[in-house]
Point group: C2
Chain length 337, copies 2
Amino acid sequence: MTDTIALSLDEVRDFARRVLVRLGLSERQTAAVIETIVAGERDECGAHGIYRLLNCAQTISAGKVAVDAAPVLHDMAPALARVDGDRGYAQYAFEIGKPALIAKARACGIAALGLNNCVHFAALWPEVEALAREGLVAFAFTPSHAWVAPAGGTSPLFGTNPLAFGWPRPGEHPFVFDFATSAVARGEIELHRRAGKTIPLGWALDPEGQPTTDPAAGLAGAMLTFGGHKGSALSAMIELIAGPLIGDMTSAESLADDEGTRSSPRGGELIIAINPAGFLGASAEDNIARAEQVFDAIVGQGARLPSQRRYDARARSIAHGVKVSRTLYEDIAAYLD
Amino acid sequence: MTDTIALSLDEVRDFARRVLVRLGLSERQTAAVIETIVAGERDECGAHGIYRLLNCAQTISAGKVAVDAAPVLHDMAPALARVDGDRGYAQYAFEIGKPALIAKARACGIAALGLNNCVHFAALWPEVEALAREGLVAFAFTPSHAWVAPAGGTSPLFGTNPLAFGWPRPGEHPFVFDFATSAVARGEIELHRRAGKTIPLGWALDPEGQPTTDPAAGLAGAMLTFGGHKGSALSAMIELIAGPLIGDMTSAESLADDEGTRSSPRGGELIIAINPAGFLGASAEDNIARAEQVFDAIVGQGARLPSQRRYDARARSIAHGVKVSRTLYEDIAAYLD
């Protein structure tokens, strides 16, 4: 017996669907959520594949996500929309709001969508990739739980506050990146703790505010941002624009709302889309071609485009399916008993 | 004789005005440009004060800025405007475009302004601070000259590509930051070279693509981004959204356009403004107050807000004037002879 199980992407989708429905999530919400789980597994982002079903089970059993959420779209201004996620998963709220965001970006040239009162466990790249495939330039931001200290400080205040960007490329996968403004993902520190490994200096401070290589002390203390005061400034920006700007919680408020249940963070997300045709009109083709020169120059000097690894994995997974850990699969399958 | 000269801010303004007019810059363009020079001196950002008049002299004498530029505003879409800067300074183009950006952001909730065909020597914080003082949340981006290698690469491709952000605060100076996505400003490496000092690893690669502590080798090779692949991704984003997206040059194209004259970079700038009232309506006051809690929590743990040093300097300068290097002042004053 091997320690992995081979699955087609349809089998991953079906497995995730059965688990979430058994956990009580509504059919419509499940349909939105499983696509990011399939996408994570497909692109070999293990932490965002079926592994996340464990989080979902935790969050659902803690009552921290509304299994029957019915998000409502609000038209706020010619170029602004909000979706009240009704405490459901953000993927579902995005599905409700996406057509309005696209229509507004095309009509006005730029538009923004605020997702409110949502539960977040997925990466942001699926959102910006979907918008880039519609020909739009897209940005997405979300706070999380207050785990990260500002530069020069010692106490957790910011979330891991990711930022994602997507750029449409004719005939190619979009240029997409998505990164946490923390030095590393919180799960990375947890993996080091489980493996009994030390962490590099620069990832976290201990509860006394001192630099630490002990992952447990780092988890109990405060994570650090990437890039020193610059990363800290970006993290503060995301805290503001995907929190108070859209009438939603800060990472500190979200952590308090969690009440120690270790559920997925609840809060807001800000997505901005720009229609290149709005700026460029007839010169769009020439300008998109000049953008390709930037990508060519990156690849041509042996560097990698941010999503290249994911797209390579995607091609493999679509052709040959994926392999998932047998232990993980069986742990999750136990929810189906 | 001391090695500094004390000047009031009005004297700085008058000095800068006389120099630029003598160099041939039109009165209207001069009026826009000098305000950022006064602001730089006032906020003790020495590199963006009267020191920049040396750059202006270089750029004007090389014929790389149009002294009689007449920027033209183009209305592109309900939430998009562009200003053709007519190869004048970006500050003048921003002045022409700012009222349209503010009006569009208020009408549509979010709006973007592309400044095209402009010459850039100033920081971006004056733009986002001005918009934040109008009650808007603001972002600004610009490429520069191709001096910076992408993460994993060895050849200059990106500019120092700064990013600025502004957030309005009732009764307080706006929350503002503005940083280069390069590890340091190019001028910082130049200062090390002049002082005969080594530079830290992580700032630059030599012409063979190897890490270097030699500032001259770093200037001849490639600068590095801050924050590894994350900073590199951000720099690529800025290259795209403030270049091809608005129909303007990449940093590589701008450097080629410079023809070795070492003038200020020519190219585009993208400015985005969001009206908080658009998202928040009646709940604006409550939400702005929650943003203040984030700032309180930063300051309360002994960390600093990004612009705090500048605002402290500003208060001193407004009360007592500034001191500038006598040598620098006399070097610049020579243009008045």
